[in-house]
């Protein structure tokens, strides 16, 4: 496969799409749908094995099914699907949390994440209900990660509107033992021992729906990304606003969604960063009540760590309408200039090949888009 390809992996309400272009990112080819008819919450590429993809498929008939492709999505193979441990398999502390007995089955697969570069067969998946699984054989088998699945704060966790899901998994590229997870509605957690133990890292993140405004856990985090140039810096889109943390999620998060010049609404679901745009994060603000884009059009905003200021990358007049964008709905590629990709719940895929200077609509009407991931 030529190296000059750019691919966008699109998970939709009705299947998986691979959308392809060259490095100019001006014309796009949409390959035939895979997993047709099924909800695909996330499709991800394994950067350690070019061409290897994983899809989190959630079938109304068959339940959750994990798939792997090794040829950029031409063929897919069903692999192991994680299962809630049986009562016999669970240590007793498991039941102090929100897992009823008999346990709730795995309802949906939410998010795949490749492990650290030094662990080429390691893969993680976050699921509903509130669980993380690890595989060391590229998804053929799975083990529950007790450090988060049996966390002592679990009784204080609640489901978000999308269910009790673990939807964000971040591995520190400098250290395979440091990882972060994001859970709705429990917040973010950090591990420094490869998942043996996790601690909550939600300081000064507002939980407007709880009696205590700044609890240790209970925040409804929507998505988090690490700055590729400085993995100690994390950008967070939370139910309670847009935040940055510059210390590996330790200490206070700063609510950048309330600084002067910020978007009028700092609600939203998604956030992305790009290797070729260090110190910058891309958000899609939504209105808190309708969960659609404000001001009559799609918008993308950029936060700069260097200037500590906001700027809008897209006028709402460019794509007028009321759009929804979900937690995996924005992605950036690794090219220079960075490309930005936004998928909407009404099936539009919008692309900027020049970090927000210009935008184009991929001329294809997709089903409702759950996730986009750019690979280049």
């Amino acid at each position: 496969m030529p190296e000059n390809r750019v691919r966008v992996l699109v998970g939709t309400r009705k299947g998986t799409y691979i959308v392809e272009s060259d490095r100019r990112r001006r014309g796009w080819k949409v390959h035939p749908v895979a997993h047709a008819g099924w909800d695909v919450f996330h499709v991800t590429a394994d950067p350690r094995a070019p061409g290897t993809l994983y899809a989190a498929v959630n079938s109304g008939f068959w339940g959750p099914i994990a798939y792997r492709s090794t040829d950029w999505g031409k063929k897919w193979k069903e692999i192991g699907t994680p299962l809630t441990p049986t009562k016999k398999e669970r240590p007793s502390p498991f039941d102090r949390g929100d897992s009823p007995s008999p346990p709730r089955p795995v309802v949906n697969l939410w998010h795949f994440a490749a492990g650290h570069a030094s662990e080429p067969k390691t893969l993680f998946v976050g699921v509903d209900p509130h669980m993380l699984f690890r595989s060391d054989d590229r998804g053929d088998s799975w083990q529950p990660v007790a450090g988060i699945n049996e966390h002592p704060t679990k009784k204080q966790w609640n489901p978000g509107f999308g269910g009790p899901c673990l939807h964000t998994i971040l591995i520190d590229p400098r250290d395979p033992r440091r990882m972060y997870v994001g859970i709705s509605a429990a917040g973010t957690f950090r591990s420094d021992d490869a998942g043996e133990h996790f601690r909550p890292v939600n300081q000064r993140v507002h939980a407007p729906f709880l009696p205590q405004p700044y609890p240790e856990v209970g925040q409804c985090v929507h998505h988090v990304t690490l700055d590729p140039a400085d993995p100690d810096t994390a950008y967070r889109q939370d139910h309670g606003g847009m935040y940055v943390n510059r210390h590996g999620m330790e200490g206070n998060w700063q609510r950048i969604g309330k600084v002067a010049g910020a978007p009028k609404d700092d609600f939203g679901f998604c956030v992305a960063s790009a290797p070729q745009a260090p110190g910058r994060a891309f958000f899609v603000p939504l209105t808190g009540m309708a969960r659609t884009t404000p001001s009559g059009g799609l918008q993308v905003w950029e936060w700069s760590e260097k200037s500590r200021r906001w700027r809008t990358l897209m006028s709402p007049k460019r794509f007028p309408g009321d759009f929804g964008v979900q937690r995996e709905g924005i992605s950036a590629d690794a090219l220079d200039p960075a490309g930005i990709y936004v998928g909407t719940t009404t099936g539009q895929l919008v692309v900027s090949p020049d970090t927000g200077r210009t935008w184009q609509l991929v001329p294809y009407q997709f089903p409702a888009i759950h996730s986009v991931e750019a690979v280049a």
Partner: protein
């Protein structure tokens, strides 16, 4: 001996659409089916053993999915149909 009939959706997992079984209960019948077609494991039932939402099991025409369920005896039964509800959109 019970005659088991499978709906068209199950053809993705097993070549048989109709077969005879000596299984004494619905649960034993499903286990037999899952042994023969391992890819069906956790597709008709989740890991707690419960039937998935849109799976319906009819014993001599009676839907037992919500009532007697998997423990329903198949002694003296003539047919079992395993179907999926019409759903989607």
């Amino acid at each position: 001996m019970v005659v088991v009939r499978l709906d068209a959706m199950l053809k993705a997992f097993t070549s048989r659409s109709r077969f005879d079984s000596e299984a004494p209960t619905v649960q034993a019948l499903l286990e037999e089916l899952e042994r023969e077609a391992p890819r069906l494991r956790f597709k008709l039932r989740d890991e707690t053993g419960a039937l998935r939402r849109y799976v319906r099991v009819f014993v001599d025409g009676e839907d037992v999915s919500q009532s007697a369920g998997l423990g329903r005896s198949l002694v003296g039964v003539r047919t079992v149909d395993i179907l999926h509800s019409i759903a989607g959109g």
